[in-house]
């Protein structure tokens, strides 16, 4: 019997990522209820899955056929809706990244989950990517010894891929927010760090020996929608850069350089529904090459969620989820403060 899914938020991520993924896993899941504040969107998205629709998230939580709730609303709504899902007795909740907007919010969400026995999964597809996980298993000795970690996320605008991932309506590109003042630039940088860079921050955090000890040494917004941030963490350097623009070639790379090992991973762009990351681990003169696996991070995220829901897999330690959001917020916050200081 498939697991009933209720979705809160019917935007691009739901339309182009979660619904096509769930449609590939009919033996595991069936979408039962979709909520969006826009009734046309809610109806459209629900109809495609044969699900009920609503403009109130409480209706999704009250639906007895909904076993799993996917919170895909804007981040500001995550705490309220996740906590409500826990209190409604839902056994498993998937919350899109970022989990929370502050450590306090994250703590409250995890406390609610603990109190209700809800298993909380954060929608961070690279953490579930089989290519990444295979490379990670080979690179245990790299651990926290990388002197340089470089994350470069250079992608076309999302709508290039959204149109290939679904037949649904894709919302128009949002205008680029103003960057005239230091405060505006800091706000935009925070948004880009928590919207783009965050994808790989949990992967990076586990490779930093002193991840709470970070100093942002340089920061710059890159036009039209990018960032470049250099971070010092103890004896390690973290270089984060990203850019979205009108160019067809995606380059999503994560490189870790250790004393004797080099791990280079290339991820598929967001919204692409085929294949995992691929990469290479070089140790001295030896290489381990991992080619693209058939299942991608989105699919495995839901497969893992089904296993957690069935009790066949241990969910991520809540402390890890809190550490991940603390790290992401601290990097984004320190970068934004540095940007404001620089004027």
């Amino acid at each position: 019997m498939s697991i009933g899914v209720g979705i809160i938020g019917g935007g691009a991520v739901t339309q182009s990522i979660h619904l096509p993924t769930l449609a590939r896993l009919p033996e595991l899941f069936s979408v039962k209820h979709v909520m969006d504040i826009d009734p046309d969107t809610a109806r459209l998205v629900a109809d495609r899955s044969g699900a009920r629709w609503t403009t109130r998230y409480e209706d999704v939580l009250d639906d007895p056929e909904v076993d799993v709730v996917a919170v895909c609303s804007p981040p500001a709504w995550h705490p309220e809706q996740v906590i409500a899902a826990c209190r409604a007795g839902k056994r498993t909740v998937l919350c899109e990244k970022p989990l929370a907007n502050s450590v306090e919010e994250g703590s409250a969400m995890l406390a609610a989950a603990r109190a209700s026995g809800t298993r909380l999964v954060v929608g961070a597809m690279h953490l579930h990517d089989p290519g990444w996980l295979e490379l990670l298993a080979h690179s245990e000795s790299l651990s926290t010894s990388a002197s340089l970690i470089r994350s470069s996320i250079v992608l076309p605008y999302n709508d290039r891929y959204e149109r290939w991932g679904t037949e649904f309506r894709v919302p128009p590109r949002r205008p680029i927010p103003p960057t005239g003042t230091a405060a505006e630039r800091a706000a935009v940088l925070t948004q880009r760090m928590l919207g783009v860079a965050i994808h790989d921050l949990p992967l990076i955090r586990v490779h930093l020996a002193e991840w709470r000890d970070i100093v942002v040494t340089h920061v710059r917004l890159i036009n039209p929608t990018g960032y470049a941030v250099t971070v010092r963490s103890g004896a390690q350097i973290l270089q984060l850069s990203g850019s979205m623009r009108d160019y067809w070639r995606p380059e999503w790379d994560l490189d870790l350089y250790g004393e004797r090992q080099r791990l280079s991973v290339t991820f598929t762009p967001s919204y692409v529904h085929a294949g995992s990351a691929s990469g290479r681990l070089v140790t001295g003169r030896d290489s381990v090459v991992v080619g693209s696996r058939p299942q991608n991070g989105y699919e495995m995220e839901w497969v893992h969620l089904a296993q957690i829901h069935a009790g066949a897999r241990i969910p991520e330690d809540p402390a890890t989820l809190l550490d991940d959001i603390e790290f992401a917020l601290s990097i984004a916050g320190a970068a934004a403060r540095r940007m404001e200081e620089d004027g």
């Binding site: 036009n223 270089q239 850069s241 160019y247 004393e259």
Partner: protein
Amino acid sequence: MTVQITISVEGAQRGLRAALASLPESYRIVSDARDADVVVVDGGTPWATRTRALLAAGRTTVLIVDPDRFDADLIGELRQIAASAGSAVEVIRGWASDPAVEPFSDAVRDAVSPIMADSTMICDASGDVDRAQREHLDLVAAALGAPLEILDDQRVEGSRVVTAQAARDGASLLVVCCTVAMPGVEAEATVRLLTESGRLLLRLRSPDSARPAQSLIGDADGEVIAPYVYESAYRAVLRRLRASIPAGT
């Protein structure tokens, strides 16, 4: 018959001697600098002092090979001294003089709406990492066709990250350069310029490598790979130098 240029080589200069061996009609090696049209100075020695001495002694052309601290201002000063004496000073830099760099730099100059550049060099940890970083920054400046103004320089054991800016059409272009030292690797460098609607990428192997540089210029219609040039930086500069020296000098 082509008139050969006489050249004297100070130091071992393995790469340069290999290049000279491939230019038998253009150059003839002589042992005494006083008999040479071109005197090659080892960049691992106090090359500026040696160059000044050679120019003062009336040598026609001085070729500095792989200066350990490339200093554009100092080279300019030496060139001025040479020009006033009717001489010339040339420089070979293992990475920056690669024959793929100049056409790449031309493409960079023509690129519309650049948004940032970055570069990563991996070098052998058994060598001098600081020198590798200097050569890396030198390469990036040559590839971008503009000197770099360093904004941030982070160093840890094994890695360096420099954030810089390069002047570009009255504005500044952000440049991030990562240099990593690892044992037993073949050195390589990748320079990338992102524009609002394209990408320019230059991938170079160690100057000692047989593998040629790869240069890719991308726009909305696709990406063009420049033809591979199986010529070392040493040979490319020697050929250019030969062409600049009139026969019979």
